[in-house]
């Protein structure tokens, strides 16, 4: 289908992007990390991957809770697979338990007798990055916190861009009074102190994941409108738009088929920076305690614990290093895209 073929100029831009190694590999690693984070349960989980018990196979990772009675234990609540593994190993039968590489989940408090958390990293316990002040595994909270942050950031990006692009496009396309009114509205709106609003809202109701996305979108959609307005304004006056209108095309047809495809490069250039912005915003809100409600695993909450317990350096180090690596990679991707999509490189004088 000719419709889905990318035009050569865009293909050239992507080829250029792939040649910028730093950005390209950052993008690959990030994409892999995001992809894998959706399967975090396989890598970081208190549930076992595989259990073989009395000739039967169990795969507890996904699915319903398997009570301890199933495996001949004396309780109805969820099986403690770490203990089950020790018991089965002691019996030396053909039964065994295969645990996830990091055998803790983000919510359980691994409180050991005689030790006051946080505990330092220990390979023997499986706490590769130690535990936090409530005895929860830092690695598990990092991994699940990453997933929360990235999903939050991408969702926020989609919401922001949907609203921002629609309004910006409409401003540029229809112009006139509509444009003027929205310009003033956005100027006023941008000056609402966002943090205070969040604090006020958080004091009235505890925001959950989606309401936080909604609140942040409410104050974050303006950024994209300016760029979209300008680009649309420019494209609208191009002759191919006139040509389409002369053929009898509707406004919607012109916007979706002609103007938006020509603004993709602007949108794509801003995506990485918006992603890192979203992650930073969520982390800082969590750090201040106005973000996602506890005990949701989040980097900001971990950061707050870390800065309050600087003696337990593994907490603050692991979260700060993760932040640095993640944000640097996102920035590398952003840089590479900006470089690859730089219109000056593609201007051809014919």
């Amino acid at each position: 289908m000719s419709r889905f073929r990318l035009d050569p100029l865009t293909r050239k831009k992507f080829a250029r992007f792939a040649r910028i190694r730093r950005g390209y590999w950052s993008a690959v690693i990030l994409a892999a990390a995001i992809g894998l984070s959706f399967f975090s349960e396989v890598f970081v989980n208190s549930r076992a991957l595989v259990v073989r018990y009395q000739g039967r196979w169990y795969f507890p990772t996904y699915g319903a809770v398997i009570p301890g009675k199933t495996f001949g234990l004396d309780y109805e609540y969820e099986t403690n697979y770490r203990r089950l593994k020790a018991e089965l190993a002691a019996k030396s039968g053909s039964d065994f338990v295969l645990l996830a590489p990091a055998p803790y989940n983000a919510y359980e408090n691994d409180l050991q007798e005689g030790i006051y958390p946080p505990t330092a990293p220990s390979f023997a316990d499986g706490h590769y990055l130690g535990t936090d002040t409530s005895g929860r595994d830092v690695l598990a909270r990092l991994v699940y916190g990453f997933r929360t942050a990235i999903i939050f950031s991408l969702l926020l990006l989609m919401c922001n861009y949907t609203v921002g692009i629609s309004i910006g496009c409409a401003m540029g396309y229809f112009g006139g009074l509509f444009d003027l009114l929205f310009q003033r509205l956005i100027e006023v709106w941008s000056n609402v102190p966002f943090l205070y609003v969040i604090i006020i809202v958080a004091s009235i109701m505890v925001p959950n994941f989606f309401s936080l996305v909604f609140i942040m979108m409410f104050f974050g959609w303006m950024g994209m409108t300016w760029y979209m307005r300008t680009v649309t304004y420019k494209q609208r006056e191009r002759e191919y738009v006139l040509a389409a209108r002369a053929l009898g095309a509707s406004d919607a047809y012109i916007i979706f088929r002609h103007i938006l495809p020509n603004t993709i490069s602007v949108i794509v250039t801003f995506i990485p920076f918006s992603v890192s912005g979203g992650i930073v915003a969520l982390t800082s809100l969590d750090y201040l305690g106005f973000g996602l409600p506890p005990p949701t695993p989040s980097w900001g909450e971990l950061l707050r614990q870390g800065t309050n317990h600087l003696d337990a350096s593994w907490i603050v180090l692991s979260v700060v290093l993760s932040m640095i690596v993640l944000l640097t990679m996102v920035t590398f991707v952003g840089e590479a895209i900006r470089e690859a999509f730089d219109p000056r490189r593609h201007t051809v004088y014919e």
Binding site: R3, D7, E239, L242, L247, G248, A249, H258, N262, E350
Partner: protein
């Protein structure tokens, strides 16, 4: 004139200029200021004039790419200037436009196939397979290979792109096509190919053209009748041959005289060249708009606006807007 396909009556296209703190209207550009002419089925009417005289604006205003300030544009009896929405979109099936710059008028992000299927898609005619077949027919009609279908506009030369633009304009078999300087951006060698293509298509499909150009030589070659524009007004409108041999308006005379003649025995200095610049359409001169540059200007020309009416001593359809038409002898 009842036999007209298109009849433009007193068309005015004024653009407001806004400025200042409160976005007030500070000036008006009188791009097209009361233009009347008509086009009969299957004929070519040439529109000539200097850059900035409003001929492109006129072309776009006829097709309602701009909303005219005043006046009527009757196309088959219906006033294009005052139809809206669906009715306008249906009328546009019978109208086409070819633009000057073939680099600008084709969307870079679409394939040629997509561009040529677009007219059918917009008007929801045919199945996808039919549209594909029709688009390929169009390519053949304008002399491009079928392999062009999957390619992108930037892979073609200027002349080939203009052929794509023409194919798009004729896709829905329109009755009237506005050609907005279709050859001025092209090489001279390509110009004649494109002109011949247009003439062939006209013969084959019975198209009527409004042919806009600043080059009188090109217009003379393709047009049946010619309207000469100066600063938003038609100053002379007549049969092409007649205009060539008996120009009445001093501006037409100057334009005709400025066509370079391939005759080495004639000296360049002998020709009467127009002096000065075209006045700004923001503040057009009172009276006859040409009086600031007219070599024959009289006191009356500064105050009275000449009407477009039948000239003295010529065919009745030869219209001219000059107080002293027929009394002036061109220097040559």
């Amino acid at each position: 004139m009842s036999g007209s396909l298109l009849e433009v009556k007193g068309l005015k296209m004024h653009f407001p200029v806004h400025g200042g703190l409160f976005y007030r209207q500070v000036a008006t550009v009188y791009a097209v200021d009361g233009v009347s002419f008509d086009v009969r089925p299957g004929e070519t009417v040439g529109l000539v004039g200097e850059s900035g005289c409003g001929k492109s604006t006129l072309g776009k205003a006829i097709l309602r790419l701009y909303d005219p300030t005043d006046g009527q544009v009757f196309f088959e009896g219906r006033d294009l200037a005052h139809v809206h929405g669906k009715e306008l979109r249906m009328l546009r099936r019978d109208l086409g436009i070819i633009f000057q710059d073939p680099y600008e008028s084709l969307n870079q992000t679409h394939t040629v196939g997509f561009i040529l299927e677009e007219p059918f898609r917009i008007h929801c005619v045919g199945t996808p397979e039919e549209r594909r077949a029709w688009a390929k027919d169009l390519l053949k009609k304008v002399g491009l290979p079928e392999s062009a279908f999957e390619r992108f506009p930037h892979e073609f030369s200027g002349g080939q792109r203009q052929r794509i633009g023409i194919a798009r304009a004729i896709a829905l078999k329109p009755k009237l096509v506005v050609c907005d300087e279709p050859v001025s951006a092209l090489d001279v060698s390509i110009q004649s190919q494109i002109l011949n293509l247009l003439l062939d298509l006209q013969k084959e499909m019975g198209l009527a053209f409004v042919f806009i150009a600043h080059d009188l030589a090109v217009v003379k070659h393709v047009s049946d009748r010619i309207a000469v524009m100066y600063l938003g007004k038609v100053v002379e409108f007549s049969d092409a041959d007649e205009l060539h041999h008996k120009p009445l308006h001093p501006y037409t005379q100057a334009l005709l005289a400025s066509i370079p003649e391939p005759d080495p025995s004639k000296s360049v200095e002998e020709k009467p060249f127009l002096e000065g610049e075209v006045p700004s359409p923001r503040n057009p001169p009172a009276g006859c708009r040409f009086h600031t540059r007219c070599p024959f200007a009289q006191p009356r020309c500064r105050t009275d606006i000449p009407e477009l009416k039948a000239g003295p001593g010529v065919a009745p359809e030869h219209l001219v807007a000059c107080h002293y038409a027929g009394e002036l002898k061109p220097k040559s």
